[in-house]
């Protein structure tokens, strides 16, 4: 697959940066915890993509292996995050992050 040569590494970096920033933006503008979780997943995926690109660039498999670990972590986080969400929903009937502001100052 020689053709890929045409694409500068830079573009991968920019692509992940954009995806990452979109994820961040999502976290910032949304109040629904589930959507926020998803945006965080998006951020992690941007990182994954970057890792794979670097891995390919260096011709080094470690980057891809690292992506596995990120996936594992993502899965674990989602599991825990969603169970927290369920727990909260059970107590408060809401998934609104803005609702959680009793602890302050």
């Amino acid at each position: 697959m020689e053709v890929i040569k045409a694409i500068p590494l830079n573009h991968y970096i920019l692509l992940s940066a954009v995806l990452f920033a979109i994820g961040v933006m999502g976290v910032l503008v949304r109040r629904n915890a589930i959507i926020i979780f998803m945006c965080i997943e998006l951020m992690l995926n941007a990182v994954n993509l970057l890792m794979v690109a670097f891995s390919a660039h260096h011709g080094d498999g470690k980057g891809q292996v690292f992506v596995f670990f990120i996936m594992a972590v993502a899965a674990a986080e989602v599991a825990v995050g969603l169970s927290i969400l369920i727990m909260i929903h059970r107590n408060t009937e809401t998934t609104d992050v803005g609702f959680l502001n009793k602890l302050k100052f």
Partner: protein, 456 residues
């Protein structure tokens, strides 16, 4: 290494206890196990072959000291937290999570590969997210877990981004290889810069340094007291140890990149942490802010960028952890009787509760950094290590912070002697043991500050 395995095993035992129905013993088992782990750890001192598993982990003396700090803290924590392992169907879950979090912390301390660091951070974080929410019916606990999780996961994103950039530049996750790469005038300077900064941000979040500290007060306040104790000791110790290793070993030669940023973060942490702590009415929250300011002090060790910083860090984290555990032990006991951990709950306790009084005095003075208690030497070592090759400005800010901190630490002491009260706070045997050990350790470390200065 053995300690890592031992504690992991203990964690698995915790799960097994649920299945095999020996929940009742898991608490005592954990304590015995941790004791054994401490012994085992010390046996590994001056390990001739510190690297294990293809350089994944590296148990040199610094790591071992940190592990010792973690395990001692963990042991003290188990002793103080006896009450959360009672009358609750969740004790095996909790002990498992705590033990696993210690495993994660050990990984963070002994890592020699960023993968291990990352996984360690995540193990620790996930356990903490859960533990923060372990008081399921309490809204505070729920909120605490949610906030912690949301922000933790969010910060993880930045951390990972940083790792990715570093990998992109150096093509490696190995601490030593990155070090080699960094010291030979790296190309891809943008990747290096951004990577280091993002890593710093991610780790600063973990040690709750300003401006990434927002989670800490709310989470500390909402979480069950015992969990807060765990968060403010083990998490902080592990994170700062990881931070130290990464930045002084891997990025030590690129000090110019991160020193300014971290200096500002440290200064802000010290000032803002201390200043906001002044106005708190809840002791837990006050300790959270104090924890933020201590994060600032801890950063000095990283900024020092030398071996003395590491030594200072081990000393400081132990001193800080011991004093914090003692403080939380008292807070937990008082709160369980009085129903709240506000300052007012402590009023008049100085009259009839000798042990509590002495513990509060000793731990608060140690946290405030007043000689001859351990906290003073901790700060002192940090400052001197920093001053070995840096100017004095940051130290002065640290001292200003110290002066402010006296205000709120002493407020607790003063509260003990306010008003008249004959109330006696019952202390369980384990709490007493914790307090006595903490007092002895805090004083002994002050009198013999060299005990932590084994050569490495």
């Amino acid at each position: 290494m053995k300690a890592l395995l031992l504690v992991s095993g203990l964690g698995f035992l915790g799960i097994l206890s649920e299945i095999l129905n020996f929940k009742k013993f898991i608490y005592k088992l954990s304590i015995v196990g941790l004791l054994a782990a401490i012994v085992v750890t010390f046996l590994e001192w001056d390990n001739p072959t510190p690297a294990y598993f293809n350089n994944m982990v590296y148990f040199d003396n610094l790591a071992i000291s940190f592990i010792a700090v973690l395990l001692i803290t963990g042991l003290l924590w188990f002793l103080m937290a006896e009450s959360i392992f009672e009358n609750d169907g969740l004790q095996s879950d909790k002990s498992t999570l705590v033990l696993f979090s210690i495993v994660g912390a050990v990984c963070m301390v002994a890592y020699n590969n960023i993968t291990m660091l990352f996984i360690g951070i995540e193990i620790l974080s996930i356990c903490m997210y859960v533990l923060a929410g372990s008081k399921k019916e309490s809204l505070g606990s729920n909120e605490s877990a949610m906030k912690y999780f949301l922000m933790g996961a969010f910060a993880t994103g930045f951390l990972l981004m940083g790792i990715a950039f570093i990998y992109g530049a150096s093509a490696s996750f190995d601490v030593m290889e990155i070090k080699a790469y960094m010291s030979n005038s790296p190309q891809n300077i943008e990747l290096v810069y951004t990577g280091i900064i993002l890593l710093a941000i991610g780790l600063a979040f973990k040690i709750s340094a300003v401006p990434f500290h927002f989670w800490a007060p709310d989470v500390y306040e909402g979480a069950p007291i015992q969990v807060t104790a765990l968060m403010s000791t083990i998490v902080k110790t592990a994170a700062i140890a990881a931070f130290y290793k990464l930045f002084t070993v891997s990025f030590g030669s690129q000090e110019i990149v991160w020193s300014t940023t971290l200096s500002y973060i440290a200064a802000l942490s010290v000032l803002i942490g201390n200043i906001i702590a002044v106005f708190q009415s809840n002791v837990k929250r006050m300790l959270a802010y104090s924890g933020i300011s201590h994060a600032g002090y801890l950063l000095l060790a990283i900024l020092a960028n030398n071996a003395a910083g590491g030594t200072a860090l081990t000393y400081y984290t132990l001193a800080y952890s011991v004093a914090t555990i003692a403080a939380f032990t008292v807070v937990a006991n008082v709160a369980s009787v009085k129903g709240s951990s506000d300052f007012t709950s402590f009023e008049g306790l100085g009259k009839k509760n000798k042990l509590i009084t002495i513990s509060v005095i000793v731990s608060m003075m140690s946290l405030a950094g007043i000689p001859p208690f351990a906290g003073f030497f901790g700060k002192y070592f940090l400052f001197t290590s920093y001053l070995e090759n840096h100017s004095i400005n940051l130290v002065i800010i640290g001292l200003i912070g110290s002066a402010i901190s006296i205000y709120y630490y002493f407020r607790l002491i003063v509260n003990l002697f306010k008003g008249e009260s004959d109330e006696v706070i019952p202390l369980s045997l384990t709490s007493k043991i914790v307090l006595i050990i903490a007092i002895i350790l805090t004083v002994a470390m002050g009198i013999f500050p060299e005990i932590m200065n084994g050569g490495w």
